[in-house]
Symmetry: C2
């Protein structure tokens, strides 16, 4: 089997931990597998480097920032390769440009356009563990680029796709993907198997165990992911394409997000083009709008409500008052940071009627008022008052019987 | 004028110092020059990285050690480029493989085989300051290599040669090259101009201001060096080819080295091949032998005396007893760590008779016994008892009137 293993910054955060990762890689190889391993910078290192660059620039999208930031992973791969050899293994390190991992030139948040699997494949077929720097790539013109926070997950999946790996193992400090946050619901259960689409929804909704882009990449290239613990050998969560062998679970997980705020624009004249006047300037400003609801028109006027990340709230207000002054007047705009978005996710919804209705009923039974609703094929989200976030999560988790198989 | 500036680790040792270097580069450019700048890792950083690698390997000549070590300079160039832009300058950083600086694959002590000046020249002709990582290169197969301690000097000279720079300025914490160590002789004088050959001898003899390989490189490619202070604008020492405009000084400098030890092998049968039996195993063991003297033969036996770095002394003894057991018997070998080598250097010696004789007289007048002598065209070295090192240095500096022009 050909295996790509990925370890984050905590797993390589000290000399001893690097030794542990080395042992784990060598053991995996001894089981008869070809092994490539992707690592992040030692924990704290990327923050240290970011602080250094911030002394000189406030623009993180600078070519030179990526030159500095990419050194963190470079140190990790050199040390891990040495640690593997220290215990008798064979290893060779690869930087982004040595693989090579081609990206666009959007520095600090570059996207991978192509990965050349040739050098890695040669290394693997030579019984040598390929130790690859996460988070970094190289542009067409040879500049070093970085992929943004959590980019090492994406590197691992892209590497796995390029060498046709049988599985991409994401080692993390939790045992796998859970039905909901175990800190909120102690009965939360580890999910054995989940589809890319569900994982994508869960990741978008705040389950921090995997980067969204990594899941997208895995889905596009059909790379099986295995999210598992770096502390033990227990099987974790397999993230795979939907297939006949999937458990037919209606709801796989419950999430709650409290980082969004609600914006309402009242008295919008209900004529064609007015909604575009609101959302175009937001899009141009790079502000991601999430839930959108337009009220039924009354007296030729309507109200438009949506959510934005709370971090972007002030900027969203400013952009609207500047770009849509006739609609977004000061007296017409209302904002509310006191909201939470709870969601249920599951591929089973496609074939089961009444799931949304059951969610609404569970919330109503707890006396929780629903302010906004948005749905996709495999997800239902409700915006509620923030203080009910945990209560709603627990009620939904219990109501959909997620604690038991 | 096209100028290459080189700053060491102390000069870029903090955020503020990096800002100072940036100012200096921008000012040099504003004077109408094209500027490339080579920097080392921030002071302490290379030691930190070496310590990390030593946790996993005792072999510093490992490909992976260079992957780790080269990150120090990478951080420096990114930060310096940002600092230059912060004050309105234009800058672009270059790693060894981006330049590219081709080396052999002797990791940790690689030698530069070629430097491609094209990318740098394009950068310079674009009014942009090229910020180049010192100490690192890339091998034919794309591996990262490092040049060994002090390698940034060599990088600077090689860069200067590749872009046909008019001068390579080495910024340091002293004002230039001195006639001798000012800590030993307060009257030591800064030398205004010195030849490559003299500088080479001085560097070999322990003047730490410039790396020997950098001077060799400058001599081979005829790159004028300017060794000057990073703290002020005073002219330093120009290191250039010998020419008609040189001051015709007999002796340029005095040095003392106390890091060598003396080895004597007595009762060596005076037959052909016996001397080779002594020095071949030492050469094969990578032990650099310095001064060599063979006594006049007596009764068909001779004594051979030489010096080796004290760090290699124990190994030299072991090698000899193993590889030349019939000659280097335990009772025949004598070693002495209690020695110093004092030397005088100067191109003027070529045309002035009696310089060596004057040196012997000066030492004799101080009651200092000479144990060994070795000479080159522009250098005379004497091995003396260690406790006389400073006294000999002061006496020679005064005797050759180096304190005044």
């Amino acid at each position: 089997m050909r295996v790509v293993m990925k370890f984050g910054g905590t797993s390589v955060g000290s000399v001893d931990r690097i030794r542990n990762v080395a042992k784990r890689c060598v053991r995996r190889q001894a089981e008869g597998h070809e092994v490539a391993v992707v690592v992040s910078a030692m924990s704290g290192e990327t923050n240290r480097l970011v602080s250094l660059t911030k002394e000189f620039t406030s623009d993180p999208n600078d070519r030179e920032c990526d030159v500095v930031l990419s050194t963190g992973e470079q140190v990790s791969i050199g040390l891990l390769a040495l640690a593997i050899r220290e215990i008798g293994g064979k290893a060779k390190s690869f930087l982004g440009h040595q693989v090579k991992i081609l990206t666009d030139d959007a520095f600090s948040r570059a996207r991978i356009s192509n990965v050349d699997g040739a050098a890695l494949t040669e290394c693997l077929s030579n019984d040598t563990i390929a130790v690859v720097a996460g988070f970094q790539g190289v542009t067409d013109s040879g500049d070093i680029s970085t992929l943004g926070r959590g980019g090492s997950d994406t590197t691992a999946v892209a590497i796995a796709a390029s060498v046709n790996a049988d599985v991409c193992e994401i080692y993390t400090d939790v045992d796998g993907v859970y039905t909901t946050d175990p800190n909120v619901v102690p009965e939360a259960r580890k999910i054995d198997k989940i589809t890319y689409e569900e994982m994508l929804e869960l990741a978008s909704l705040g389950a921090k165990v995997l980067q969204i882009r990594a899941v997208e990449f895995a889905m596009n290239y059909n790379v099986p992911l295995h999210v598992r613990s770096s502390f033990n050998d227990n099987p974790g969560t397999m993230v795979v394409a939907a297939g006949e062998n999937m458990e037919s679970v209606v709801v796989s997980g419950v999430t709650a997000v409290t980082s969004e705020s609600k914006v309402t624009i009242k008295r919008v004249p209900d004529v064609a083009g007015n909604v575009a006047k609101i959302f175009k300037p937001l899009a141009d400003g790079g502000i991601v709008v999430d839930m959108i609801v337009q009220n039924v028109s009354e007296n030729g006027e309507t109200a438009v409500t949506f959510t934005v990340p709370t971090d972007d709230l002030a900027r969203a207000e400013a952009v609207l008052q500047r770009e849509a002054p006739d609609i977004a007047t000061e007296s017409n705009i209302r904002t509310d940071q006191n909201v939470a978005k709870v969601s249920i996710v599951g591929v089973g919804m496609r074939s089961h009627a009444g799931v949304a209705q059951r969610m609404f009923q569970i919330l109503a039974d707890e006396g929780i008022n629903i302010q906004l609703i948005s749905t996709s094929e495999i997800k239902v989200s409700c915006l509620i008052e923030k203080k009910y976030a945990e209560l709603a999560t627990r009620a939904l988790h219990a109501g959909f019987k997620l604690e038991s198989e």
